[in-house]
Symmetry: C2
Protein backbone atom coordinates (compact mmCIF):
# COMPACT_ATOMS: atom_id res chain seq x y z
CA UNK A 1 0.00 0.00 0.00
CA UNK A 2 1.23 3.48 -0.86
CA UNK A 3 1.82 6.16 1.78
CA UNK A 4 -0.73 8.99 1.98
CA UNK A 5 0.02 12.45 0.60
CA UNK A 6 -2.21 15.53 0.91
CA UNK A 7 -1.89 18.40 -1.57
CA UNK A 8 -3.61 21.56 -0.32
CA UNK A 9 -4.29 24.63 -2.46
CA UNK A 10 -5.17 27.99 -0.91
CA UNK A 11 -6.17 31.13 -2.73
CA UNK A 12 -5.81 34.86 -2.29
CA UNK A 13 -8.74 35.26 0.12
CA UNK A 14 -6.83 33.30 2.79
CA UNK A 15 -3.34 34.63 2.01
CA UNK A 16 -4.33 38.27 2.16
CA UNK A 17 -6.07 38.07 5.54
CA UNK A 18 -3.43 37.76 8.26
CA UNK A 19 -5.72 36.14 10.81
CA UNK A 20 -7.23 33.70 8.26
CA UNK A 21 -3.73 32.79 7.08
CA UNK A 22 -2.50 32.14 10.63
CA UNK A 23 -5.54 29.94 11.35
CA UNK A 24 -4.94 28.07 8.12
CA UNK A 25 -1.21 27.54 8.76
CA UNK A 26 -2.06 26.17 12.22
CA UNK A 27 -4.51 23.70 10.64
CA UNK A 28 -2.14 22.81 7.82
CA UNK A 29 0.70 22.10 10.26
CA UNK A 30 -1.66 19.64 12.02
CA UNK A 31 -2.39 17.64 8.85
CA UNK A 32 -0.80 14.26 9.51
CA UNK A 33 1.64 12.60 7.16
CA UNK A 34 3.18 13.87 3.94
CA UNK A 35 1.78 17.15 2.66
CA UNK A 36 2.35 19.84 0.06
CA UNK A 37 0.98 23.39 0.02
CA UNK A 38 0.25 25.38 -3.15
CA UNK A 39 -0.61 29.07 -2.93
CA UNK A 40 -1.66 31.83 -5.29
CA UNK A 41 -1.64 35.43 -4.13
CA UNK A 42 -3.30 37.76 -6.60
CA UNK A 43 -4.37 40.93 -4.86
CA UNK A 44 -1.04 41.77 -3.19
CA UNK A 45 0.62 41.55 -6.61
CA UNK A 46 -2.01 43.92 -8.03
CA UNK A 47 -1.46 46.36 -5.15
CA UNK A 48 2.36 46.33 -5.39
CA UNK A 49 2.15 46.63 -9.21
CA UNK A 50 -0.11 49.66 -8.75
CA UNK A 51 2.37 51.27 -6.32
CA UNK A 52 5.14 50.68 -8.86
CA UNK A 53 3.02 52.24 -11.62
CA UNK A 54 2.58 48.96 -13.51
CA UNK A 55 -0.97 48.53 -14.86
CA UNK A 56 -2.68 45.15 -14.21
CA UNK A 57 -4.34 44.05 -17.45
CA UNK A 58 -7.02 41.37 -17.24
CA UNK A 59 -8.60 39.49 -20.15
CA UNK A 60 -11.62 37.20 -19.47
CA UNK A 61 -10.67 37.19 -15.78
CA UNK A 62 -7.07 36.25 -16.45
CA UNK A 63 -4.00 38.34 -15.83
CA UNK A 64 -1.96 39.36 -18.87
CA UNK A 65 1.63 38.84 -17.74
CA UNK A 66 4.00 41.43 -19.19
CA UNK A 67 7.71 41.40 -18.31
CA UNK A 68 7.05 44.02 -15.60
CA UNK A 69 4.07 42.06 -14.23
CA UNK A 70 6.15 38.88 -14.12
CA UNK A 71 8.79 40.69 -12.05
CA UNK A 72 6.12 41.80 -9.57
CA UNK A 73 4.66 38.28 -9.43
CA UNK A 74 8.14 36.85 -8.86
CA UNK A 75 8.70 39.34 -6.02
CA UNK A 76 5.31 38.83 -4.38
CA UNK A 77 4.46 35.14 -4.98
CA UNK A 78 8.04 33.81 -4.91
CA UNK A 79 9.41 36.20 -2.28
CA UNK A 80 7.04 37.99 0.08
CA UNK A 81 4.18 35.48 0.26
CA UNK A 82 6.14 32.27 -0.08
CA UNK A 83 8.91 33.10 2.42
CA UNK A 84 6.48 34.41 5.04
CA UNK A 85 4.36 31.25 4.76
CA UNK A 86 7.51 29.15 5.12
CA UNK A 87 8.67 31.12 8.20
CA UNK A 88 5.17 30.81 9.69
CA UNK A 89 5.16 27.02 9.19
CA UNK A 90 8.65 26.71 10.70
CA UNK A 91 7.25 28.40 13.83
CA UNK A 92 4.63 25.61 13.94
CA UNK A 93 7.31 22.89 13.72
CA UNK A 94 6.46 22.14 10.12
CA UNK A 95 9.74 21.94 8.20
CA UNK A 96 8.61 23.79 5.08
CA UNK A 97 10.66 24.65 2.01
CA UNK A 98 9.43 27.28 -0.46
CA UNK A 99 9.64 26.44 -4.15
CA UNK A 100 8.87 27.80 -7.57
CA UNK A 101 8.80 25.35 -10.44
CA UNK A 102 12.33 26.51 -11.36
CA UNK A 103 13.68 25.34 -8.00
CA UNK A 104 15.03 21.84 -8.47
CA UNK A 105 13.34 21.93 -11.88
CA UNK A 106 10.25 20.74 -9.99
CA UNK A 107 7.72 22.04 -12.56
CA UNK A 108 8.63 22.78 -16.15
CA UNK A 109 6.23 24.50 -18.51
CA UNK A 110 6.07 26.08 -21.94
CA UNK A 111 5.05 29.66 -22.69
CA UNK A 112 1.45 29.68 -23.85
CA UNK A 113 1.31 30.16 -27.63
CA UNK A 114 -0.11 33.49 -28.75
CA UNK A 115 -3.62 32.91 -30.11
CA UNK A 116 -6.50 35.38 -30.13
CA UNK A 117 -5.15 36.66 -26.82
CA UNK A 118 -1.45 37.07 -25.96
CA UNK A 119 -1.33 36.13 -22.28
CA UNK A 120 2.36 37.06 -22.12
CA UNK A 121 4.65 35.20 -19.74
CA UNK A 122 2.17 32.48 -18.80
CA UNK A 123 3.19 28.84 -18.62
CA UNK A 124 1.31 25.65 -19.47
CA UNK A 125 2.72 22.80 -17.38
CA UNK A 126 4.82 20.17 -19.17
CA UNK A 127 6.21 18.01 -16.39
CA UNK A 128 6.34 17.63 -12.62
CA UNK A 129 9.65 16.30 -11.20
CA UNK A 130 7.92 13.90 -8.82
CA UNK A 131 11.15 12.12 -7.89
CA UNK A 132 12.78 15.19 -6.35
CA UNK A 133 9.57 16.16 -4.54
CA UNK A 134 9.46 12.59 -3.15
CA UNK A 135 13.08 12.93 -1.96
CA UNK A 136 12.16 16.13 -0.12
CA UNK A 137 9.10 14.53 1.50
CA UNK A 138 11.20 11.55 2.58
CA UNK A 139 13.65 13.98 4.22
CA UNK A 140 10.78 15.28 6.38
CA UNK A 141 10.33 18.40 4.26
CA UNK A 142 6.97 20.02 3.39
CA UNK A 143 7.17 21.72 -0.03
CA UNK A 144 5.32 25.05 -0.38
CA UNK A 145 4.81 25.96 -4.03
CA UNK A 146 4.08 29.42 -5.39
CA UNK A 147 2.32 29.86 -8.75
CA UNK A 148 5.49 30.23 -10.84
CA UNK A 149 7.07 27.66 -13.18
CA UNK A 150 9.91 27.88 -15.74
CA UNK A 151 10.62 26.82 -19.31
CA UNK A 152 14.07 25.32 -18.59
CA UNK A 153 15.66 28.00 -20.79
CA UNK A 154 15.94 30.64 -18.10
CA UNK A 155 12.41 32.05 -18.35
CA UNK A 156 10.11 32.13 -15.33
CA UNK A 157 6.39 31.80 -16.19
CA UNK A 158 3.22 32.75 -14.31
CA UNK A 159 1.08 29.62 -13.88
CA UNK A 160 -2.42 29.00 -12.52
CA UNK A 161 -2.20 27.74 -8.91
CA UNK A 162 -5.24 25.39 -9.25
CA UNK A 163 -3.53 23.69 -12.19
CA UNK A 164 -0.19 23.48 -10.36
CA UNK A 165 -1.96 21.73 -7.46
CA UNK A 166 -3.69 19.17 -9.69
CA UNK A 167 -0.58 18.50 -11.81
CA UNK A 168 1.51 17.96 -8.65
CA UNK A 169 -1.17 15.59 -7.33
CA UNK A 170 -1.18 13.67 -10.62
CA UNK A 171 2.62 13.52 -10.75
CA UNK A 172 2.94 12.33 -7.15
CA UNK A 173 0.31 9.59 -7.62
CA UNK A 174 3.04 7.35 -8.99
CA UNK A 175 4.51 7.15 -5.49
CA UNK A 176 1.71 8.12 -3.09
CA UNK A 177 -1.99 7.73 -2.35
CA UNK A 178 -2.82 11.36 -3.17
CA UNK A 179 -5.69 13.51 -1.92
CA UNK A 180 -6.17 16.98 -3.33
CA UNK A 181 -7.84 19.77 -1.33
CA UNK A 182 -9.07 22.99 -2.94
CA UNK A 183 -9.74 25.48 -0.15
CA UNK A 184 -11.91 28.47 -0.97
CA UNK A 185 -14.51 30.77 0.59
CA UNK A 186 -17.54 28.49 0.02
CA UNK A 187 -18.47 25.32 1.88
CA UNK A 188 -18.23 23.25 -1.30
CA UNK A 189 -19.99 22.72 -4.61
CA UNK A 190 -23.48 24.15 -4.08
CA UNK A 191 -26.76 22.76 -5.47
CA UNK A 192 -28.21 26.28 -5.16
CA UNK A 193 -25.71 29.14 -5.44
CA UNK A 194 -27.99 31.29 -3.28
CA UNK A 195 -27.90 28.77 -0.40
CA UNK A 196 -24.46 28.41 1.21
CA UNK A 197 -25.54 25.24 3.00
CA UNK A 198 -26.77 23.40 -0.12
CA UNK A 199 -23.42 21.56 -0.36
CA UNK A 200 -23.31 18.48 -2.57
CA UNK A 201 -21.24 16.25 -0.28
CA UNK A 202 -20.25 13.63 -2.83
CA UNK A 203 -19.84 13.76 -6.59
CA UNK A 204 -18.70 10.83 -8.72
CA UNK A 205 -18.41 10.42 -12.50
CA UNK A 206 -22.10 9.54 -12.86
CA UNK A 207 -23.53 12.34 -10.71
CA UNK A 208 -21.00 14.75 -12.28
CA UNK A 209 -22.55 14.08 -15.69
CA UNK A 210 -26.06 14.62 -14.26
CA UNK A 211 -24.99 17.89 -12.61
CA UNK A 212 -23.55 19.06 -15.92
CA UNK A 213 -26.67 18.03 -17.86
CA UNK A 214 -29.03 19.78 -15.45
CA UNK A 215 -26.85 22.93 -15.46
CA UNK A 216 -26.27 22.83 -11.70
CA UNK A 217 -22.53 22.98 -12.35
CA UNK A 218 -22.00 26.04 -14.50
CA UNK A 219 -19.94 29.19 -15.02
CA UNK A 220 -16.79 29.45 -12.92
CA UNK A 221 -17.31 25.98 -11.45
CA UNK A 222 -16.95 24.33 -14.88
CA UNK A 223 -13.15 24.65 -15.31
CA UNK A 224 -12.56 23.85 -11.62
CA UNK A 225 -14.57 20.63 -11.85
CA UNK A 226 -12.93 19.72 -15.13
CA UNK A 227 -9.57 20.11 -13.38
CA UNK A 228 -10.74 17.86 -10.51
CA UNK A 229 -11.98 15.03 -12.73
CA UNK A 230 -8.85 15.26 -14.86
CA UNK A 231 -6.86 14.60 -11.66
CA UNK A 232 -9.13 11.70 -10.66
CA UNK A 233 -8.83 10.11 -14.08
CA UNK A 234 -5.04 10.35 -13.77
CA UNK A 235 -4.79 8.38 -10.49
CA UNK A 236 -5.45 11.00 -7.82
CA UNK A 237 -7.55 9.16 -5.21
CA UNK A 238 -9.82 11.90 -3.88
CA UNK A 239 -10.46 15.59 -4.44
CA UNK A 240 -12.08 17.80 -1.81
CA UNK A 241 -13.53 21.27 -2.27
CA UNK A 242 -14.53 23.48 0.65
CA UNK A 243 -13.45 25.79 3.43
CA UNK A 244 -9.88 25.49 4.78
CA UNK A 245 -10.91 23.81 8.07
CA UNK A 246 -11.89 20.67 6.11
CA UNK A 247 -8.23 19.63 5.92
CA UNK A 248 -8.30 18.75 9.63
CA UNK A 249 -11.94 17.65 9.85
CA UNK A 250 -13.23 20.95 11.29
CA UNK A 251 -15.92 21.39 8.63
CA UNK A 252 -19.11 19.34 8.67
CA UNK A 253 -19.89 20.19 5.07
CA UNK A 254 -17.57 19.97 2.07
CA UNK A 255 -17.60 18.28 -1.32
CA UNK A 256 -15.70 15.06 -1.98
CA UNK A 257 -15.12 14.02 -5.57
CA UNK A 258 -14.23 10.47 -6.65
CA UNK A 259 -14.33 8.65 -9.98
CA UNK B 1 39.00 11.66 2.38
CA UNK B 2 36.07 14.03 2.28
CA UNK B 3 34.38 15.14 -0.96
CA UNK B 4 35.08 18.68 -2.17
CA UNK B 5 32.53 21.47 -1.76
CA UNK B 6 32.83 25.03 -3.14
CA UNK B 7 30.86 27.87 -1.56
CA UNK B 8 30.77 30.95 -3.78
CA UNK B 9 29.56 34.39 -2.68
CA UNK B 10 28.68 37.11 -5.20
CA UNK B 11 27.73 40.68 -4.42
CA UNK B 12 25.52 43.37 -5.89
CA UNK B 13 28.02 44.51 -8.54
CA UNK B 14 27.62 41.18 -10.37
CA UNK B 15 23.90 40.66 -9.73
CA UNK B 16 22.86 44.07 -11.00
CA UNK B 17 24.71 43.85 -14.29
CA UNK B 18 22.86 41.43 -16.59
CA UNK B 19 25.86 40.60 -18.76
CA UNK B 20 28.21 40.17 -15.76
CA UNK B 21 25.62 37.95 -14.09
CA UNK B 22 25.20 35.76 -17.18
CA UNK B 23 28.98 35.38 -17.49
CA UNK B 24 29.20 34.49 -13.82
CA UNK B 25 26.36 31.93 -13.98
CA UNK B 26 28.08 30.28 -16.97
CA UNK B 27 31.32 30.03 -14.95
CA UNK B 28 29.54 28.88 -11.81
CA UNK B 29 27.70 26.13 -13.70
CA UNK B 30 31.13 24.89 -14.87
CA UNK B 31 32.53 24.55 -11.33
CA UNK B 32 33.01 20.83 -10.87
CA UNK B 33 31.61 18.87 -7.94
CA UNK B 34 29.38 20.02 -5.11
CA UNK B 35 28.74 23.74 -4.94
CA UNK B 36 26.64 26.35 -3.18
CA UNK B 37 25.93 29.94 -4.26
CA UNK B 38 25.25 32.82 -1.86
CA UNK B 39 24.08 36.18 -3.19
CA UNK B 40 23.34 39.62 -1.82
CA UNK B 41 21.52 42.17 -3.93
CA UNK B 42 21.50 45.63 -2.40
CA UNK B 43 20.89 48.25 -5.06
CA UNK B 44 17.76 46.70 -6.62
CA UNK B 45 16.20 46.62 -3.15
CA UNK B 46 17.07 50.30 -2.68
CA UNK B 47 15.57 51.16 -6.08
CA UNK B 48 12.32 49.21 -5.52
CA UNK B 49 12.04 50.64 -1.99
CA UNK B 50 12.39 54.12 -3.47
CA UNK B 51 9.66 53.43 -6.03
CA UNK B 52 7.39 52.23 -3.22
CA UNK B 53 8.16 55.37 -1.20
CA UNK B 54 10.08 53.49 1.51
CA UNK B 55 13.21 55.38 2.63
CA UNK B 56 16.47 53.38 2.82
CA UNK B 57 18.18 54.29 6.09
CA UNK B 58 21.88 53.48 6.42
CA UNK B 59 23.96 53.63 9.62
CA UNK B 60 27.77 53.18 9.38
CA UNK B 61 27.28 51.66 5.91
CA UNK B 62 24.67 49.20 7.12
CA UNK B 63 21.02 49.10 6.18
CA UNK B 64 18.52 49.71 8.95
CA UNK B 65 15.84 47.08 8.35
CA UNK B 66 12.35 48.34 9.20
CA UNK B 67 9.29 46.11 8.66
CA UNK B 68 8.71 47.79 5.28
CA UNK B 69 12.38 47.40 4.27
CA UNK B 70 12.28 43.72 5.26
CA UNK B 71 9.27 43.20 2.97
CA UNK B 72 11.15 44.79 0.07
CA UNK B 73 14.25 42.67 0.81
CA UNK B 74 12.10 39.54 0.96
CA UNK B 75 10.56 40.44 -2.40
CA UNK B 76 13.83 41.36 -4.11
CA UNK B 77 16.42 39.00 -2.57
CA UNK B 78 14.09 36.03 -1.95
CA UNK B 79 11.90 36.49 -5.03
CA UNK B 80 13.17 38.49 -7.99
CA UNK B 81 16.93 37.93 -7.69
CA UNK B 82 16.91 34.41 -6.28
CA UNK B 83 14.33 32.91 -8.67
CA UNK B 84 15.91 34.49 -11.76
CA UNK B 85 19.35 33.15 -10.76
CA UNK B 86 17.80 29.70 -10.24
CA UNK B 87 16.05 29.80 -13.64
CA UNK B 88 19.30 30.96 -15.26
CA UNK B 89 21.25 28.07 -13.71
CA UNK B 90 18.57 25.56 -14.79
CA UNK B 91 19.14 26.76 -18.36
CA UNK B 92 22.83 25.86 -17.89
CA UNK B 93 21.96 22.34 -16.69
CA UNK B 94 22.77 23.20 -13.10
CA UNK B 95 19.93 21.86 -10.94
CA UNK B 96 19.66 24.84 -8.59
CA UNK B 97 17.22 25.32 -5.72
CA UNK B 98 16.70 28.78 -4.21
CA UNK B 99 16.64 29.05 -0.44
CA UNK B 100 16.31 31.54 2.36
CA UNK B 101 17.42 30.41 5.81
CA UNK B 102 13.74 29.77 6.64
CA UNK B 103 13.47 27.15 3.88
CA UNK B 104 14.12 23.76 5.43
CA UNK B 105 15.23 25.70 8.54
CA UNK B 106 18.63 25.81 6.82
CA UNK B 107 19.87 28.91 8.69
CA UNK B 108 18.44 30.06 11.99
CA UNK B 109 19.37 33.37 13.55
CA UNK B 110 18.39 35.70 16.36
CA UNK B 111 17.31 39.30 15.97
CA UNK B 112 20.26 41.56 16.77
CA UNK B 113 19.82 43.08 20.24
CA UNK B 114 19.19 46.82 20.25
CA UNK B 115 22.38 48.58 21.39
CA UNK B 116 23.51 52.09 20.50
CA UNK B 117 21.96 51.45 17.09
CA UNK B 118 18.69 49.61 16.44
CA UNK B 119 19.38 47.74 13.21
CA UNK B 120 15.79 46.53 13.09
CA UNK B 121 15.01 43.14 11.55
CA UNK B 122 18.62 41.99 11.21
CA UNK B 123 19.66 38.47 12.17
CA UNK B 124 22.86 37.12 13.73
CA UNK B 125 23.33 33.51 12.66
CA UNK B 126 22.77 30.81 15.28
CA UNK B 127 22.94 27.56 13.38
CA UNK B 128 23.35 26.10 9.90
CA UNK B 129 21.35 22.91 9.19
CA UNK B 130 24.28 21.20 7.45
CA UNK B 131 22.53 17.83 7.36
CA UNK B 132 19.67 18.99 5.13
CA UNK B 133 22.05 20.94 2.86
CA UNK B 134 24.12 17.73 2.56
CA UNK B 135 20.97 15.77 1.61
CA UNK B 136 20.23 18.30 -1.15
CA UNK B 137 23.80 18.15 -2.48
CA UNK B 138 23.65 14.35 -2.49
CA UNK B 139 20.45 14.55 -4.56
CA UNK B 140 22.39 16.49 -7.23
CA UNK B 141 20.97 19.84 -6.13
CA UNK B 142 22.91 23.14 -6.02
CA UNK B 143 21.54 25.37 -3.24
CA UNK B 144 21.34 29.11 -3.99
CA UNK B 145 21.01 31.16 -0.81
CA UNK B 146 19.71 34.70 -0.56
CA UNK B 147 20.68 36.93 2.37
CA UNK B 148 17.64 36.17 4.53
CA UNK B 149 17.44 33.96 7.63
CA UNK B 150 14.71 33.36 10.23
CA UNK B 151 14.36 33.16 14.00
CA UNK B 152 12.28 29.95 14.03
CA UNK B 153 9.36 31.90 15.51
CA UNK B 154 7.96 33.10 12.21
CA UNK B 155 10.19 36.15 11.75
CA UNK B 156 12.36 36.56 8.65
CA UNK B 157 15.61 38.49 9.25
CA UNK B 158 17.95 40.37 6.92
CA UNK B 159 21.44 38.86 7.23
CA UNK B 160 24.86 39.78 5.82
CA UNK B 161 25.63 37.62 2.77
CA UNK B 162 29.40 37.43 3.51
CA UNK B 163 28.60 36.01 6.94
CA UNK B 164 26.02 33.58 5.52
CA UNK B 165 28.68 32.25 3.11
CA UNK B 166 31.30 31.75 5.83
CA UNK B 167 28.83 30.19 8.29
CA UNK B 168 27.61 27.75 5.61
CA UNK B 169 31.23 26.86 4.80
CA UNK B 170 31.96 26.28 8.49
CA UNK B 171 28.81 24.20 8.98
CA UNK B 172 29.45 22.07 5.89
CA UNK B 173 33.08 21.36 6.92
CA UNK B 174 31.81 18.52 9.09
CA UNK B 175 30.96 16.60 5.92
CA UNK B 176 33.03 18.15 3.12
CA UNK B 177 36.44 19.57 2.22
CA UNK B 178 35.18 23.15 1.91
CA UNK B 179 36.61 26.03 -0.12
CA UNK B 180 35.08 29.46 0.19
CA UNK B 181 35.22 32.01 -2.68
CA UNK B 182 34.46 35.70 -2.14
CA UNK B 183 33.93 37.25 -5.58
CA UNK B 184 34.16 41.03 -5.81
CA UNK B 185 35.31 43.79 -8.17
CA UNK B 186 39.03 43.71 -7.19
CA UNK B 187 41.60 41.12 -8.16
CA UNK B 188 42.22 40.22 -4.52
CA UNK B 189 43.73 41.66 -1.34
CA UNK B 190 45.99 44.49 -2.54
CA UNK B 191 49.39 45.47 -1.08
CA UNK B 192 48.81 48.96 -2.49
CA UNK B 193 45.16 50.05 -2.82
CA UNK B 194 46.17 52.38 -5.66
CA UNK B 195 47.64 49.50 -7.70
CA UNK B 196 45.05 46.96 -8.88
CA UNK B 197 47.76 44.44 -9.77
CA UNK B 198 49.49 44.46 -6.37
CA UNK B 199 47.59 41.33 -5.34
CA UNK B 200 48.92 39.41 -2.36
CA UNK B 201 48.52 35.89 -3.75
CA UNK B 202 48.84 33.98 -0.49
CA UNK B 203 48.10 34.95 3.09
CA UNK B 204 48.51 32.60 6.05
CA UNK B 205 48.15 33.19 9.80
CA UNK B 206 51.71 34.51 10.11
CA UNK B 207 51.66 36.90 7.13
CA UNK B 208 48.11 37.96 8.17
CA UNK B 209 49.51 39.19 11.49
CA UNK B 210 52.30 41.05 9.70
CA UNK B 211 49.84 42.65 7.26
CA UNK B 212 47.72 43.79 10.20
CA UNK B 213 50.77 45.14 12.10
CA UNK B 214 52.04 47.09 9.10
CA UNK B 215 48.57 48.49 8.39
CA UNK B 216 48.42 47.04 4.87
CA UNK B 217 45.12 45.38 5.77
CA UNK B 218 42.91 48.17 7.02
CA UNK B 219 39.49 49.81 6.78
CA UNK B 220 36.84 47.76 4.95
CA UNK B 221 39.20 44.82 4.49
CA UNK B 222 39.46 44.28 8.27
CA UNK B 223 36.01 42.71 8.89
CA UNK B 224 36.24 40.70 5.62
CA UNK B 225 39.61 39.22 6.60
CA UNK B 226 38.42 38.56 10.13
CA UNK B 227 35.50 36.63 8.62
CA UNK B 228 37.88 34.61 6.42
CA UNK B 229 40.25 33.60 9.25
CA UNK B 230 37.31 32.76 11.46
CA UNK B 231 36.22 30.28 8.75
CA UNK B 232 39.74 28.85 8.43
CA UNK B 233 40.04 28.39 12.19
CA UNK B 234 36.73 26.51 12.12
CA UNK B 235 37.80 23.86 9.58
CA UNK B 236 37.23 25.56 6.23
CA UNK B 237 40.20 24.44 4.10
CA UNK B 238 40.80 27.44 1.87
CA UNK B 239 39.37 30.90 1.30
CA UNK B 240 39.81 32.78 -1.99
CA UNK B 241 39.18 36.48 -2.65
CA UNK B 242 39.14 37.92 -6.16
CA UNK B 243 37.23 38.44 -9.38
CA UNK B 244 34.47 35.94 -10.31
CA UNK B 245 36.49 34.19 -13.04
CA UNK B 246 38.79 32.72 -10.37
CA UNK B 247 36.21 30.03 -9.58
CA UNK B 248 37.04 28.32 -12.89
CA UNK B 249 40.73 29.27 -13.09
CA UNK B 250 40.21 32.20 -15.48
CA UNK B 251 42.06 34.72 -13.27
CA UNK B 252 45.84 34.73 -13.00
CA UNK B 253 45.74 36.83 -9.87
CA UNK B 254 43.65 36.29 -6.75
CA UNK B 255 44.28 35.91 -3.04
CA UNK B 256 44.29 32.51 -1.33
CA UNK B 257 44.05 32.40 2.44
CA UNK B 258 45.06 29.39 4.54
CA UNK B 259 45.80 28.93 8.23
Amino acid sequence: MKTKLSIVKIGGNIIENESALNDFLQDFSNVEGNKILVHGGGRTATRIAGQLGIPSKMESGRRITTKETLDVITMVYGGLTNKNIVAGLQNLNCNAIGLSGADGNTISSSKRPVGEIDYGFVGDIQEVNAKLIKTLLESGITPVFCAITHDGKGQLLNTNADTIASEIAIGMSEYFDTSLYYCFEKKGVLRDVEDDDSVITHIDSISYKQLLDTGIIADGMLPKMHNCFNALQRNVKKVHIGMPGMIVGKEELFTTLTL
